[in-house]
Symmetry: C3
Subunit: 471 residues, 3 copies
Amino acid sequence: MTALAPHPDRLLPADPGVRDLARRLHAQVADAPILSPHGHVDARMLADDEPFPDPAALLITPDHYVTRMLHAAGVPLDDLGLARNGHPSPATGRSIWRTLCEHWDVFLGTPVRLWFEAEFSEVFGLTEQPSAQNADRLYDQLAETLADPAFRPRALFERFRIEVLATTDDPADDLAAHARLAADPDFRGRVIPTFRADRYMHPDEDGWAARLERLAAAADTDTTTYPGLLEALRRRRVAFKEAGGTATDTGVLDAGCDPLDEAEASRIHRAALDGTVTAAEAVAYRRNMLYRLAELSAEDGLVMQLHPGVLRNHHRPTFDAYGPDTGHDLPAVGAFTAPLTPILRDFGTDPVFRLVLFTVDETTFSREIGPLAGFYPSVYAGAPWWFIDTPDAILRYRRAVTDSAGFTKTSGFIDDTRAFCSIPARHDMSRRVDASYLAGLVAEHRLDEEDAFTLARRLVDDIPRATFRLG
Amino acid sequence: MTALAPHPDRLLPADPGVRDLARRLHAQVADAPILSPHGHVDARMLADDEPFPDPAALLITPDHYVTRMLHAAGVPLDDLGLARNGHPSPATGRSIWRTLCEHWDVFLGTPVRLWFEAEFSEVFGLTEQPSAQNADRLYDQLAETLADPAFRPRALFERFRIEVLATTDDPADDLAAHARLAADPDFRGRVIPTFRADRYMHPDEDGWAARLERLAAAADTDTTTYPGLLEALRRRRVAFKEAGGTATDTGVLDAGCDPLDEAEASRIHRAALDGTVTAAEAVAYRRNMLYRLAELSAEDGLVMQLHPGVLRNHHRPTFDAYGPDTGHDLPAVGAFTAPLTPILRDFGTDPVFRLVLFTVDETTFSREIGPLAGFYPSVYAGAPWWFIDTPDAILRYRRAVTDSAGFTKTSGFIDDTRAFCSIPARHDMSRRVDASYLAGLVAEHRLDEEDAFTLARRLVDDIPRATFRLG
Amino acid sequence: MTALAPHPDRLLPADPGVRDLARRLHAQVADAPILSPHGHVDARMLADDEPFPDPAALLITPDHYVTRMLHAAGVPLDDLGLARNGHPSPATGRSIWRTLCEHWDVFLGTPVRLWFEAEFSEVFGLTEQPSAQNADRLYDQLAETLADPAFRPRALFERFRIEVLATTDDPADDLAAHARLAADPDFRGRVIPTFRADRYMHPDEDGWAARLERLAAAADTDTTTYPGLLEALRRRRVAFKEAGGTATDTGVLDAGCDPLDEAEASRIHRAALDGTVTAAEAVAYRRNMLYRLAELSAEDGLVMQLHPGVLRNHHRPTFDAYGPDTGHDLPAVGAFTAPLTPILRDFGTDPVFRLVLFTVDETTFSREIGPLAGFYPSVYAGAPWWFIDTPDAILRYRRAVTDSAGFTKTSGFIDDTRAFCSIPARHDMSRRVDASYLAGLVAEHRLDEEDAFTLARRLVDDIPRATFRLG
């Protein structure tokens, strides 16, 4: 067996002098509360506070960061617990866990391995690296641990020192779980919804009309017209704000946002309900909707998060068999400056409007996101996200964005995860990398040590609080 | 108060061994004369040699690197001295300075802060970091200093050890200030014009016809025809050469340069004067003009500097109120290899022609600029410029371009600045980073120490001299 | 004179602690056999085993990495031995060598210099850096060395410890040289062909019909029809497999691969033979052919290597005078994820199909290649190649690709070279850089030392063996 013992200096610089400073910078924030303003944990998990199911269902099956790499190594998704064509996977929790253990080497050098090592060790108390030999024994240990009340969601929420956890929610969601949590005197955490209206922006998508109906019911207004849809979104945004929400989230193929006049948008809306919408009209409608979401943010102050450039469901056969979010949403070339012109022209200097830009294309950090955040008061450079939420990419981000935008126009870290138990490991990775970056600046006499300590604190506290209007 | 004392080892590597070598490499060139072959200082400033106005008018208001970041932090441009809709700003020099001091933290970690610290300390003798508390005191100290004759432009020019300063000038400019300087036996500096014909390339731009008229007067030839315009440009290039100019500068949206035949170019020229030019014709005309500028460079040997890919005046409301150069010219995706085919096909191996490529999109360093400079004898890889004239980006440039083009096909540093007092700090930053890069190569046994010393000298001396034909 | 003595620690990290580990990691693989699954050495050179001609004809003239940079420094290609318009170059081996020596400084800091230093020192025993002064003496020494039987191709092949050398061959090639090598009991090396069908994919290219005829003869089938061409390719692939081939290689302008139905492809095929094919049809035909090559790989299991994005023969006058491969094939923007959708949809999870992606555009490492290799079991992230087969770029590759794809989905190093004597130096460079990368991960406690040793071995052994199905 090989010991599982994440090194206290992991992710800190190799140079002894720089490492020492990085260690002190990290120590200062290692136990700071977690602000998680962008993620995908389900509020019901915390509202219900049921014990977690088996280890694989908690740690492997729902985490496409993990299943993706196992699939790349030749493991069929069936073996990882994914339901195929609606038929439950024949894999058991134990067999899935064993598959992970047998392929433990494919994660060498990756952030997934570092997150897992931190989780396994610090959350679950494992002391051995997974392997084919010890797979069953570790599985038993994990299963036993999960039965302990100290490992229920709320207990972990407290233990993880999460101060704010933002979920991601459909506008038609009734936010009942958020309400239960807010009403529960025993739960003191802050779990807030994020308004994600993506599925109302694509009038050529299957199920659009049905979703409009569901939204109409939730908002108590007619959505068969375009103004009605806008009104429904506006009302639901009010409801999200009342439930504590401070932000929206939007993912689109591109950041185009040319507004349409109401007559044209209404015409396309009707055509879509009639089933006659063209692909070009659907694109125009989607881009207009992006503009309208910005317009609404300029009205109500919900922070607009935008992440264009993901090609969804790239492998059609996998999508057909296993559904979405199964590891083949893939990055595309990013662009912000030119396509966002309409939104920034009209709201870019509006003090109510705020826009956090995330990318899956690193080339935009120095070319677009940094310069935009370095001029527009409304624009913030979002932390590295999906595919680039990794130690090296976070460093590259700081090295690219700081030049144009400094620290105060960056968003602070977001974990963007479905994997609840990985949240502390992800935030800790970010804190370590930021500590390393700051220590490097000090070592090169580009920053005073005192300023580095101040910035390390601000990056996990007032900077994300201000960016996301967390109060 | 916090001391303002730029560290002698700033920007040098953290590793003690590498730092020691970098320090010695830097020491060798720290006091080398400054060759500034590309910048935006006004020759009249030196010809007139008047005392500088107040500190803010010297250091803040005209420098869009600075105003940009303050604006991003929420400071209205009015508060920074910019005239709005023709009305002078209500801000005073003192209030503007105070605004900078109050927002000093937004520059942490940025090159602007490092330039400022070097200027404040080494040029103006400040000993405290600016803060809300000491703003007025520092302002008084700066104002008093500026009243000292030793702080007039020419005295600083000498103190900065500037050997050559290239300005940027319109072809219609009479270059009178350059002539006054050349004729003045008391001024021994070399201030040379750079021919920038951008504003004659866009026949659909407001004022194009009026500019043609002004150019006609300057060149004493008719510019109402396309051949007349070319002839006027040719004549003015002669005048620029006679005034010491060795280079031209061109900024365009893209590097497309398909030549038109004379009949077609003439037709568009006439259509533009008639006010009937279409957008597509204007683009074709602009691209043809880029080709013609290259053709002229192949005739007269003026070094052609090209920097495509900047989206000018991105925020229309700011442009309407405050005019151009107010911080929202933004980088776009770069491309050189494909669009420059016509120019390189016809002049790429011509020994008279020379082309220095600058980019605002770093991805082109290893993909386009390095490979082009590594084949075409006429092509040089321009130093990192605007938005990427920063310590980290300069290192990335060396790490990307050297592989394909070595050192001898790079341009040497350009400061590209309007901020006269930042010139020494900018060149020093570049020298420090190059010293660090060279020291790193030696430390990894990729370069002999002796060669590193030779290259460090060449990078501030014969390499830029040769690139820009400074003699 | 300056000593030529490549440092034993060259390319290893400067930090003493990290260097020590990197040194040990490298030592472990320094003498490992070379697997060269992708290159451009001619099998006839080994089959004939004649002495090499003069040093320039071996080391300079055929290596466009070298001639490119000398040309960029102003040396005409005539002076480097290239035939112009069919007339042999007036340059002699000695004069070409002298030209290299006189321009030795243009290679400072480049990988070409490091390869040359290793070759000159370790293969040829030179002890002085080339210079104008010692050029003749070194030339004599090299010429004398090449006359030694120990410097014939097969002797060097053994001395270089090459276990597998893949060549690159036209489908119409009879592979006679490979057969002679295989049949020769005195030669124990493995020299295998690689199937490169590029020249059959462009029906609008000069000579396409003539090449079809030659292929028809080689495959003993009619290629005047589209199905006939596919059948000919299929048959030749069988012949390549029988000759030991395990892979194909394809270079195209872009990775578009939309399949055509047989009728449409046949129609374009006929139009091309009739000389009436349009540019758009030729593109559609080429993209269909890329799809068909993937389809064939899914049938026969030959590993498909793909490197889109090179603009061939950028400088038309040089191409007209000197022909192809003369240093002005230049990188273009890369794209994989969107254009490869058809191939990956149909074969991406097929266990027989395998696709190794190479790029000349580094931006695709973290944005496209890593994520694709991190989901599709068939996709491997090809090592940095052409223009980016350099120490810094290899590090950037690891830092970008490992996050998404780990180590096991990377291809292992390829040397891609025509310069036979540079093969050991190129592989050694890659091994040193990988050792440095792994040592850095260990030093930052991101990888166990034991795992680093295992990975260092695997990267030169079972990983390339598995990727390229070398058995």
